[in-house]
């Protein structure tokens, strides 16, 4: 609890503390490497690292900062009623296609769940439009690459439309919602983006989804706001 309070206090100084931890770690590691002929130096660094690392792994240090990390996966409890968010691109015919996050970056793209949270709680309406415009533009570019026979990721699932040579690319982290050229051919030009809130209720034993509902919480269209789109082109909300 005390440590948690301390972290909350230090959070205000993250811009100073985080680089200090990072470079401090490598300063110590550098010294250990420099004097690694001495067994006591090697032992001290190795044991020290393992102790700190273990405290992070079991969450006794409740915050891990680079270069320390954890691999805590699927440990949060999943309630019977779960709320998710998802982006969908909208084509000129009004058809929707779930956004492929790999449009933004290699392997997995930006962290969509974090982006949803930021858009719904932190960003202003204008900032949300900047984000949406970027995502829409990324989707168009990525689609163009895929349709031209390119691709940024090898696929474990493919409809055969992805060329074999892309199998030599490093495997993507996430393989859900992976666009393929054949799938994209069923859609017209992308003209907008929607953010959906999806409520999923599963049965008490977790074995089936008993209900699912969705609602649009944000949408953006280039053509709907031509002036705004031009204005946003040069904006950056960083």
């Amino acid at each position: 609890m005390l440590l948690q309070s301390l972290i909350e206090v230090l959070r205000a100084y993250a811009g100073l503390v985080l680089p200090l931890v990072f470079f401090g770690f490598f300063a110590v590691a550098g010294l250990a490497l420099l004097f690694n002929r001495h067994p006591e130096v090697r032992r001290t660094f190795a044991v020290g690292f393992v102790v700190v690392f273990l405290l992070c792994q079991v969450s006794l240090v409740p915050l891990t900062v680079p270069p320390l990390t954890t691999y805590h996966k699927f440990s949060n409890t999943w309630d019977q009623e779960r709320v998710e968010y998802e982006f969908r691109v909208v084509d000129e015919n009004g058809q929707e296609l779930r956004f492929d996050a790999k449009s933004t970056l290699e392997f997995e793209g930006i962290r969509m769940s974090r982006l949803h949270h930021q858009m719904l709680t932190e960003y202003s309406e204008e900032e949300n439009r900047v984000v949406a415009r970027f995502l829409l533009q990324s989707a168009r570019e990525y689609r163009g690459e895929l349709e031209a026979g390119g691709g940024r990721n090898s696929l474990v699932w493919s409809d055969g439309g992805v060329k074999l040579r892309h199998a030599t690319n490093f495997p993507a982290h996430g393989h859900v919602t992976t666009w393929t050229p054949a799938e994209l051919s069923q859609y017209g030009e992308f003209v907008g983006l929607r953010l959906y809130r999806v409520e999923i209720e599963s049965s008490a034993d977790g074995s089936e989804v008993v209900s699912q509902s969705e609602a649009v919480v944000f949408e953006y269209y280039d053509e709907g706001e031509p002036g705004a789109a031009a204005e946003l082109e040069a904006r950056d909300v960083r």
Binding site: S59, F74, L105, H173, V198, G206, S207, R238
Partner: protein, 417 residues
């Protein structure tokens, strides 16, 4: 099959450490070469602004791209074992920088895996003196006396300490332990116990909700939740392999079932949830590659007669001696060459090194080719060396080196006696 280096960090050869360096390098080069840093900085927002201190203030895309190619070059040098302390240490620093910057936009396993690579690189570098099968290992023989070198070439060594593999095994075991521990105590050790993974509900819900929400085309998950006992076994099995690896490591018992379990678990995650966890290469560094290699090398008996007073000649045999893990090659100083070899009319020990496979005598360049053939893993090189133009050039180079070894290279040195 997999080695618990915590129980015993000594092996009869340093092959596993060299293979570990190679695996790390292939994994990290393959992964980081794909990063498009210019594209990364085209994203007009930062999702985790706390890490923006890691962004280069000027031309970040160019800066990180230059870093990327530096990293790749350093990793290749690290793989061959050249100045491991430096190449491994700086690679670790650059990789950590990559991980931090990527976490600005995505803190998933894709970015986190980079930090695991950092720890492995650091431990490999910390114990740089133990990399015998490396360029550094060869360079260190400069400090050996001619007698020590001859003794090593003739007799080899019985044991090699591989502490880098011990500590990196401990790190990967701790990572998985933390993953399992966090499933039982999701809010920390004092935040309450969660028993969800001891029954089918939690895992079933994760599978069906993800199946309903994400577009994942493998219909295995929904079919499996029809069998709650199977899902329960999968849940508990996940905890057992994640947490059991560290227990097995510390107890000094076999880690094989746990590592195989983790590889299976990760494959299951890919099949059920469509998530690829790229820690496979890290786990594979603990495979007993030396045992596999022992089965690959040829079992023919090969005698190599070398100049036992020539420092340069013996240093050139250093790596071959280490690679001879099954002792099928007998390295014999000229002074001790059997009469049967001395009396042959087709040999001149003063002019070249010789290899004898029982019937044929191979001189100089061909002797080296036979040595490489013995270890089989170099078969592409052996084939290449057999091509007429390569063989002609190689023979000339050997001849030049052999004829000038006393003037151009350190050949004769004082013995210990």
């Amino acid at each position: 099959m997999f080695v618990n280096y915590f129980a015993d960090e000594a092996r009869s050869s340093p092959v596993n450490l060299a293979v570990g360096r190679t695996i790390l390098t292939v994994w990290l080069v393959w992964k980081t070469a794909m990063y498009d840093w210019n594209e990364f900085f085209e994203v007009p927002f930062y999702l985790t602004p706390e890490f923006t201190w890691a962004v280069p203030p000027v031309a970040p895309g160019l800066f990180m791209t230059v870093e990327k190619w530096m990293l790749i070059a350093l990793l290749v040098l690290f793989a061959v074992g050249y100045r491991i302390r430096f190449t491994g240490g700086v690679s670790a620093l650059i990789l950590a920088h990559f991980g931090t910057v990527r976490e600005i936009q995505n803190n998933s396993g894709e970015s986190q895996a980079l930090f695991l690579g950092v720890y492995f690189l650091l431990f490999y570098s910390l114990f740089s003196e133990t990399h015998a099968l490396s360029v550094d290992g060869l360079r260190r023989t400069r400090d050996w006396s001619v007698d020590s070198l001859r003794s090593f070439i003739v007799s080899g060594r019985d044991s090699y300490q591989l502490p880098a593999l011990k500590w990196s095994l401990l790190v990967i075991a701790m990572i998985y332990f933390g993953s399992g521990f966090n499933k039982l105590f999701p809010n920390g050790p004092f935040g309450g116990f969660h028993a969800g993974y001891f029954g089918p509900v939690t895992l079933s819900r994760i599978i069906v909700v993800r199946d309903a929400f994400y577009q994942w085309h493998v219909p295995l998950g929904p079919a499996l939740v029809e069998y709650p006992a199977l899902i329960t076994a999968g849940s508990i099995g996940t905890l057992v392999v994640e947490m059991g690896l560290l227990v097995a490591v510390l107890l000094g018992v076999t880690v094989t079932p746990f590592i195989i379990g983790l590889l299976g678990f990760q494959t299951g995650v890919l099949l059920l949830l469509g998530i690829f966890v790229d820690t496979y290469p890290l786990l594979l560094t603990f495979l007993a590659w030396d045992r596999i290699y022992e089965r690959v090398v040829s079992d023919r008996a090969l005698d190599v007669v070398f100049d036992g007073q020539c420092y340069f000649c013996m240093r050139s045999l250093y790596l071959f001696r280490i690679l001879d893990v099954t002792d099928t090659v007998r390295f014999i100083p000229q002074a001790e060459a059997p009469d049967a070899y001395r009396q042959r009319g087709d040999v001149d020990f003063q002019s070249a090194m010789y290899a004898f496979d029982g019937t044929t005598a191979y001189a100089g360049y061909d002797a080296f080719r036979e040595l490489l053939r013995q270890f089989r893993v170099f078969f592409p090189l052996v084939w290449l060396m057999g091509l007429a133009p390569v063989a002609r050039a190689g023979t000339r180079v050997y001849r030049y080196v052999a004829d000038n070894r006393g003037t151009q290279f350190t050949c004769q040195v004082e013995s210990d006696d």
